[in-house]
């Protein structure tokens, strides 16, 4: 643990690029009024915070032009809304499925999954620099505040071989600011997502999770559950997990992630 004196010194080191930068750490930080700067201005500047969303449900960022699903004239709040009104085409499609007629999965992300964030997440997940999680864990907790009362916080579990390979579950570290319950376990190991089309992915995720022993013990009925994860791509993983919890009686399941991938990037 570093002391407050270290934080007040003139220079900091960037958690991502390791470069020294002069931190604007001052009395506001010491009094807890501002956050400690972990990234240098250059790295910080490359993150695209989602300030307005194009869909009340999945929280996709509004800025991409020419995206068929998004009406760029509609700008929605970046925080959770209690009554989703405007839905993108993806989310409307989900809503047509029987099991999603009476349930929802509201999601918000901190940032757009741009090139820079892809690099950062690769360093975090694949290179295994677990410290990167501290960049986001506090912010995720803040983001979740607008969701209102949350009874249980959980994460998407990793398959055993993947967990061994990485040494840690990235989602669990991202949820570091919450008290995490392990509600789910994986039933089958799914193939790499990117290899399948939407339909194939959905089929593969059908029944990918079941309740864990801890989840069984914990009475979910009437509870609002928050899932913390790293990246939201199509939402199918999160929905697969959420449907297990709805079956167990959860009244609402919501999700926060670090990065919202959009069609534009995934092509």
């Amino acid at each position: 643990m570093t002391s407050w004196r270290d934080h007040l010194s003139e220079t900091n080191r960037c958690l991502y690029c390791h470069e020294v930068f002069s931190g604007e750490v001052n009395w506001t930080w010491a009094l807890g009024l501002s956050e400690e700067k972990l990234l240098c201005p250059a790295c910080e500047g490359k993150l695209e915070e989602i300030k307005e969303t194009g869909c009340d449900m999945c929280g996709r960022p509004v800025e991409q032009e020419g995206h068929e699903f998004v009406d760029s004239t509609v700008k929605r709040s970046a925080s959770f809304v209690s009554k989703p009104q405007f839905l993108c085409r993806d989310c409307s499609r989900w809503g047509e499925e029987d099991r999603w007629k009476n349930h929802s999965l509201k999601h918000r992300a901190l940032y757009s999954y741009n090139d820079f964030l892809q690099e950062v997440m690769a360093t975090f997940k694949y290179r295994g620099d677990a410290e990167i999680a501290t960049l986001f864990s506090g912010k995720l907790k803040k983001l979740a505040k607008s969701a209102g009362r949350i009874d249980v916080v959980t994460v998407i579990p990793l398959a055993d071989d993947r967990l061994w390979e990485r040494g840690f579950n990235q989602a669990e570290l991202l949820a570091g600011a919450f008290r995490v319950r392990h509600l789910l376990v994986r039933t089958v190991s799914t193939e790499k997502q990117s290899k399948r089309d939407r339909r194939g992915r959905m089929a593969a995720l059908e029944g990918a999770f079941r309740m864990s022993e801890e989840g069984e013990r914990l009475e979910l009925s009437g509870k609002r559950v928050l899932i913390v994860d790293d990246i939201y791509t199509t939402g199918s993983t999160l929905r697969s997990a959420a449907s297990v919890m709805y079956e167990a009686g959860a009244v609402e399941v919501l999700a926060v992630t670090v990065a919202r991938a959009t069609g534009k990037l995934k092509k």
Partner: protein
């Protein structure tokens, strides 16, 4: 990975390795599962390994991959099953060691990192406890408290191969003198650790001077390493070395190679600092080719990597235009054998930099305007159809400087490029082709950028980043072609610095010595 360290009384057959990786510990073993440990938590000297079993036929793939290297277990298991690796451990061909030291100071044994900021900690799914890892060398696979390093102990087969030197150019007298002195050193590679300095001016043709020594070492059966801090230099050296040594396995290692290329067998290796970290006690001839790199530091990282990569008895050669003070001092008191090449291969003097007052350029630049002195000089260059390298101290200044140039010389084509610029290659080659007139930059991009008739200016030369050696390297960009051996080097400044004056003195001294 955790290991079961078998107690002596359980090992009547001493040929067995003391360490069994977790996956191979029998589930019904009475206490093994409770005794699993990480190598960092074991006293090092306890890990006895069997002698090499000469009758065992080792796997070719493993031998090629591991000879001369020290690799993380994960790097190997990505290509070869653990079962086969463990078999080689039991036959004495491979040994495990911890990748980190926790005492007296937390240290990454692979990269030498000891900086507390560059260590992380996780609740590890492998060793099921708090596990520290090195953040400094992550791009090579993660070193953690539970990740062992593996070394190869099979006998190295002496090579009787006859290597051909395919280079047919001629060396200038100065080059030849240096080449011979260096070759002489290679004769006794087996007497402890030795060092040699080749102090050669920018544009003296350093690479060619190295060929005779490399050739000799190869024919003695010694693997040779050319180490450099920069990928650019590796990529530039590879085709030249491959052409010079046509029947030698010349391999270049830099970031971004596929695993199949990363662990290939090699006789002559060209590698960046990080890739060097995979080699262990292997090279008898190590050439550190810093060549015109800037900002240059023979940094602690490279030093550590070189120390690990060379054999105990070996020769380390420093090739540089601007040796660090420590090397100069050692050379002067006769502790470091060296040779100087003060003359360029074309025989002409090095252009001497001129110092020009630019006033308070920072203030002018705020309004996107350049100092008058620089504008006048620019216009003169453009009239003569010259190309210009303009060095600036910081990347943040580049857009303003570009605006300033455009405002004062409308018709000129100007481009800005920095070290991590994704379009860097393109921009440099456009400049090389002459499509861009002015290139604004923060660092020397590629030493191969020998643009005929290029003129150089340093803008804000008083900045701390422009040390004597940086300025000497920058000046070395000019006059490299025998057709146009002269040109302008101007330091535009707002106050002379010692470094500027030392750089001018350095170049004048080299010119004077070159006459002798």
């Amino acid at each position: 990975m955790r290991f079961y360290s078998i107690p002596k009384e359980e090992r009547p057959n001493s040929k067995m390795a003391r360490l069994i990786p977790e996956p191979f510990v029998p589930i019904d073993h009475p206490h093994a599962m409770n005794l699993l440990v990480r190598l960092t938590d074991l006293p090092h000297n306890q890990n006895t390994f069997p002698q090499v079993n000469g009758t065992f036929q080792e796997t070719d793939e493993l031998r090629k991959m591991m000879t001369g290297r020290r690799l993380l277990l994960d790097e190997i298991t990505a290509l070869i099953p653990l079962q086969l690796i463990q078999e080689h451990v039991n036959q004495g061909f491979i040994q495990y060691e911890s990748a980190m030291m926790t005492q007296p100071k937390l240290t990454c044994k692979r990269c030498g990192n000891q900086d507390p900021f560059l260590f992380g900690k996780i609740q590890c799914a492998r060793c099921r406890q708090s596990c520290r890892y090195c953040r400094a060398c992550l791009m090579m696979g993660r070193v953690s408290q539970c990740s062992p390093l593996l070394t190869w102990h099979g006998d190295r087969r002496p090579s009787k191969k006859e290597h051909i030197l395919g280079w047919e150019g001629t060396l200038s007298p100065a080059q030849n003198k240096a080449a011979e002195a260096l070759k002489e050193q290679v004769s006794d590679l087996y007497e402890g650790h030795q060092e040699f300095l080749v102090w050669a001016v920018c544009g003296s043709g350093k690479t060619e001077m190295l060929y005779p020594a490399i050739h000799k070492a190869l024919n003695q059966g010694d693997p040779v390493l050319v180490a450099t801090p920069r990928t650019d230099v590796v990529l530039e050296l590879l085709p030249r070395m491959t052409a010079a040594f046509p029947n030698t396995k010349v391999r270049a290692y830099y970031g971004g190679l596929e695993p199949s290329e990363r662990y290939s067998e090699a006789e002559l290796v060209i590698a960046t600092t990080h890739q060097l970290l995979r080699f262990y006690h292997h090279f008898s001839l190590v050439i550190i080719d810093e060549v015109d790199a800037f900002p240059y530091t023979y940094d602690a990282k490279l030093q550590y990597a070189v120390k690990n990569a060379r054999t105990r008895a070996s020769l380390t050669v420093y090739v540089t235009a601007t040796p660090p003070n420590l090397l100069i001092r050692q050379a002067k008191i006769g502790k470091l054998p060296h040779v100087r090449v003060p003359r360029r291969y074309h025989g002409h003097d090095l252009p001497v930099p001129k110092l020009t007052w630019a006033g308070n350029w920072k203030k002018r630049l705020e309004k996107d305007r350049l100092p008058f002195a620089l504008i006048f000089w620019f216009r003169e260059q453009i009239e003569k159809s010259n190309q210009v390298f303009l060095f600036v101290p910081h990347i943040q200044l580049m857009p303003k400087v570009v605006n300033g140039i455009k405002a004062s010389c409308q018709q000129v084509t100007v481009e800005a490029v920095h070290a991590n610029d994704p379009d860097r290659r393109e921009k440099v080659s456009k400049f090389r082709e002459g499509a861009t007139r002015v290139l604004v930059t923060t660092t020397i991009l590629e030493r191969g950028v020998t643009v005929k008739g290029v003129q150089v200016a340093v803008f804000g030369a008083e900045d701390r980043i422009f040390t004597e050696s940086a300025l000497v390297q920058i000046a070395g960009r000019v006059g490299r072609s025998p057709d146009q051996p002269d040109g302008d080097v101007i330091f535009f400044h707002h106050g002379k610095t010692k470094e500027m004056i030392k750089a001018v003195r350095h170049i004048k001294l080299m010119n004077k010595e070159g006459i002798r």
